[in-house]
Amino acid sequence: MAKKSIREESSTASEAARARESRMMGSQGTRDKTLAKIGELGKSVAKSALAESDPFVDVPTRTMSNTTYNETRRLLQMGDATLRRNLFNTGQARKFMQTVLLSKGCKDLLEAKKTLSLRGMYYKSLHTIAGTKEKTFDDQEESDGILEDIEVALATLRENLHLFAKKRGTMVGNITVVDNGDPIDCRRMGTGGYAIPSICEPSVVQFGKCEAKFVLHVEKDTVWSRFNEDRFWEKHNCILTEGSGQPPRGVRRLLYRLNKELGLPVYCLLDCDPWGHYIYSVIKQGSINLAFESERMAIPDAKYLGIRSADFLRCGLSDDVKIALNDRDIERAKQIAEYPWFIKKKHWQKEIQLMVKNGFKMEVESLITKDISYVTEVYVPERMKAKDWID
């Protein structure tokens, strides 16, 4: 009896492990597909090399010029433009080498059925080039950029390459999630909150019981702590998230799924500056850099709750909270106003105009000058009640 139960336990344990593995690595099919794509890239290089021609990799361009705004779907999409990266071009040779090197790194990873952080992959491929003093990468940033190139060039996703980013972003609220098989009650996360993983695919993270009626996403950790301490999510029955500035893909994917799968509206509380405006834009329409992932991440119905330029007068804030706009801010503000997905929105045009006219920006924390809990007890509840947001 006892023996049997042990065997059962052990068999369930190994099953669980297998399940866990498949959740993390994706299915065998996805892995084979990704491996085949890497193989094709390698074969193309080998073929041009043996034919004594110039090997190349075509990388879809991730710039504004190759990004279109789909008005009906209200999200950013990547165009067809690609940039050919050649070996025999002094400006591209190093990047070409890095592309092939990291492709090989991903192949190793897939074959070993393991995952690595972006930083891990950087270290895995980092060495000094034989006969020189040059390193394959100067820093992780260089490697990260190439990995994004590989992602788009192979028309795959980072998680399919078994890569993940550093964890960033926190969640708390009236929801239970199952993260890699472990149920996590986000109502009982103390002061720290649930760290949103880099990969938030349904295979890894599933939603359990959820009473929350909406999601409030704030820009950064400090503001999020204020809301958590005041148990805002409990009082207003919601989920509270933060993305440490520009939200990473994990946070965006999670917000998307909360919105899409659970039908929760998403409200954003961000700084009143071009940076904050662009965070909202990324959450809503997707980013220019990762336009190919918009479909899996953009939340076209997300609302911008604040804070807004008019709040300086409406909330009677003191002059001390003003931070003067610099030339770069003004330029960036004008750029954002010109984006096709902003240009037809009168509220946004007004908002940006007013900010430029004011000549200053404000952080969410500026509301603390009114009262420590002004933002959680007065500002957000009032705006929500009055549906005073911009879309």
Binding site: A49, E52, P55, L87, T90, L101, I129, G131, E134
Partner: protein
């Protein structure tokens, strides 16, 4: 004399007595040329002990070279400086020239303005007949020692040794002693030659404007000569020959009518042996045919049969005016002997440690009726200092000019050339900077010096223009080379960038596809080499590839020494240095001429 003292002098002294004409005439007497120069020795280049030592060596060596060349002997010149005391030196210069006949020794070494070169129009180093006698005079004045001359004119004749003492008041020399030496005198191995020793006050210093520099530069401009220099510290420095070919003999020419001034014309008329003006013009000038002579006379209002005796000042002036109006062919230029591009290059090659050499000899031109021609040589790169102003070395009839650079036409011509066009940086109004030595040589039957010490060439427009044209020609070639070198370096860098990454790529590709890395590596390496070769190619005017991408391959005026080319500042660049090594003329110019390749080893210290 001065206003405030007037009253005082009135009181104390009787009225000042003026000198009478008779009294003054007692004081008036002829000033001999030697006396004049004894007082004004700075005019001849004996201003200070250092320069005096150099000038003495220079005058003796110039004379030796002139003598050897005129006698068609490859010069072999021995220079020795013996230090007697801190400021006293004995300068000895010995040549293997034809020697000097006994009766001329006093005249040549003892009299100023005595010489063969002043009265004729022939290209030579000396021209006034001042130099060597002035050096002797300076020696006598500063040390009291007479000049010692040993001369041997033939193997079978004894050498004559003469001690000479100048008498400045009479412009002639007294013989102090005279000895004959037996026939087998060991001084002159060729059986003939001259040796002059002068003891003088001087200072020996190396560096700029030194005896060493003078010999360095003389060796560049006279690659056919061999010099042995024994320094005061008893070191022997040898300057070997760069070529065994003697420069052709310069022809003597008659003056060209256009180059003559009115005063000279009157003097010539007074002195001529011709009786009729027509034949005077025809015989005593170059380029005057009977037709031209007739035309000149007609314009001057006389006939070519007019007696020379009948020509007064008025007529002479009319003739002078007529000469300026009549069309006369330019003077012949075969009287000029350029150093020549090839010899210039061999001279530069053996004395300058550079990587790129080019030279240019301009066709002859005329200033004030005197034919002249300009040659320019240029050396670039190699061991020449990189962050300094370029060095200009100037020559007149193969003689280096070491002083008064800024006053010289050649220096001005270098300044006025826009070196920026040739890839050399130059600040406004100053010399360009870079690892460059430029030599400018003027050959002429009469070099217009700014002073008797022959330090700078006078700035005639015609001369400066020719100099600039020559500088532009070598400049263009330098520009081509500099650009080509830059391109080759760029290519080398390009190639090394590719080659650097190919290893990584082939290994990664093998890991992905299983294709052997070595195969991919070899293939990519071939592509890399082909790609960079392609960029090496030169396109012609129509944009088509020119097979021979080396513009200097057939250019005899350019020499490139590969071994001195510094490698591109990148590791792994072995292949592109190799490419430079294969470059052109380096072999062709030397392969045939053994003496040149020996010469390129240059100056040797024993």
């Amino acid at each position: 004399m001065e206003a405030p003292n007037k009253t005082a002098s009135k009181k104390t002294s009787p009225r000042r007595q003026g000198a009478t004409a008779e009294e003054m005439s007692d004081q008036q007497r002829e000033i001999s040329v030697s006396e004049f120069f004894a007082k004004n020795r700075h005019l001849l280049g004996f201003d200070n002990p250092r320069k005096a030592l150099l000038t003495a060596v220079k005058e003796a060596v110039d004379n030796a070279l002139d003598a050897c060349e005129e006698a068609c002997i490859l010069p072999d010149i021995h220079i020795e400086l013996l230090q007697r005391s801190e400021t006293r030196f004995k300068v000895t210069v010995r040549d293997n020239g034809p020697g000097i006949v006994r009766k001329q020794i006093e005249n040549i070494f003892g009299r100023l303005l005595y010489g063969s070169k002043f009265h004729r129009l022939k290209m030579s180093r000396g021209q006034q007949g001042i130099g060597i006698s002035a050096a002797g005079m300076y020696g006598l004045m500063t040390t009291g020692q007479p000049v010692l001359i040993i001369s041997k004119t033939h193997k079978k004749k004894p050498a004559v040794e003469v001690l000479l003492k100048m008498d400045t008041s009479k412009n002639r020399a007294d013989v102090v002693s005279e000895t004959e030496h037996p026939e087998d005198d060991g001084l002159f191995q060729d059986g003939h030659g001259t040796q002059v020793s002068i003891e003088l006050e001087g200072r020996y210093q190396t560096g700029r404007q030194s005896v060493d520099e003078y010999l360095d530069q003389t060796a560049i401009a006279n690659p056919h000569a061999r010099f042995t220099f024994v320094t005061p510290t008893n070191e022997t420095i040898e300057f070997n020959r760069g070529t065994n070919e003697l420069p052709p003999e310069a022809k003597e020419i008659l003056p060209h009518p256009r180059g003559i001034e009115l005063g000279t014309l009157i003097q010539m008329i007074e002195r001529t042996d011709r009786s009729q003006i027509g034949s005077f013009l025809q015989e005593e000038f170059s380029r005057v045919s009977s037709a031209v002579a007739k035309e000149i006379c007609e314009r001057a209002g006389i006939t070519n049969r007019t007696w020379v005796k009948a020509i007064g000042h008025k007529e002479a002036e009319a003739i002078y005016k007529a000469i300026q109006e009549v069309r006369i062919t330019a003077p012949q230029t075969d009287c000029l002997v350029p150093i020549g591009t090839k010899a210039l290059l061999s001279g530069l090659l053996k004395e300058v440690k550079a990587e790129f050499f080019t030279a240019c000899t301009r066709p002859a031109d005329v200033y004030r009726g005197n034919p002249f021609l300009i040659e320019v040589g240029l050396a670039f790169g190699g061991e020449l200092p990189k962050d300094e102003l370029i060095r200009v070395i100037r020559f007149a009839n193969r003689v280096p000019l070491l002083y008064q650079q800024a006053a010289c036409a050649s220096f001005k011509a270098v300044l006025e050339t826009s070196w920026k066009n040739y890839g050399v940086s130059q600040s406004r109004g100053s010399l360009p900077d870079g690892p460059i030595v430029v030599m400018v040589h003027m050959a002429s039957v009469w070099v217009p010096f700014t002073s008797e010490s022959k330090e700078a060439i006078a700035d005639y427009d015609e001369i400066r223009k020719e100099m600039k044209l020559a500088l532009q020609e070598v400049g263009r070639k330098l520009g081509m080379y500099v650009r080509r070198r830059q391109r080759m370096r760029n290519e080398g860098e390009r190639r090394s960038i590719f080659e650097r990454y190919i290893g990584e790529i082939s290994q990664a590709t093998e890991a992905i596809t299983g294709t052997p890395a070595q195969r991919i590596y070899d293939a990519l390496l071939r592509v890399a080499q082909r790609k960079t070769e392609e960029a090496d190619a030169v396109l012609n005017d129509e944009g088509k590839r020119v097979k021979d991408s080396d513009p200097f391959r057939k250019d005899e005026s350019v020499v490139i020494l590969a071994a001195r080319t510094p490698a591109a500042p990148i590791e792994d660049s072995a292949s592109d240095t190799e490419e430079v090594t294969q470059s052109p003329s380096a072999g062709t110019l030397f392969g045939e001429d053994e003496s040149l390749s020996k010469a390129s080893k240059g100056r040797k210290k024993k």
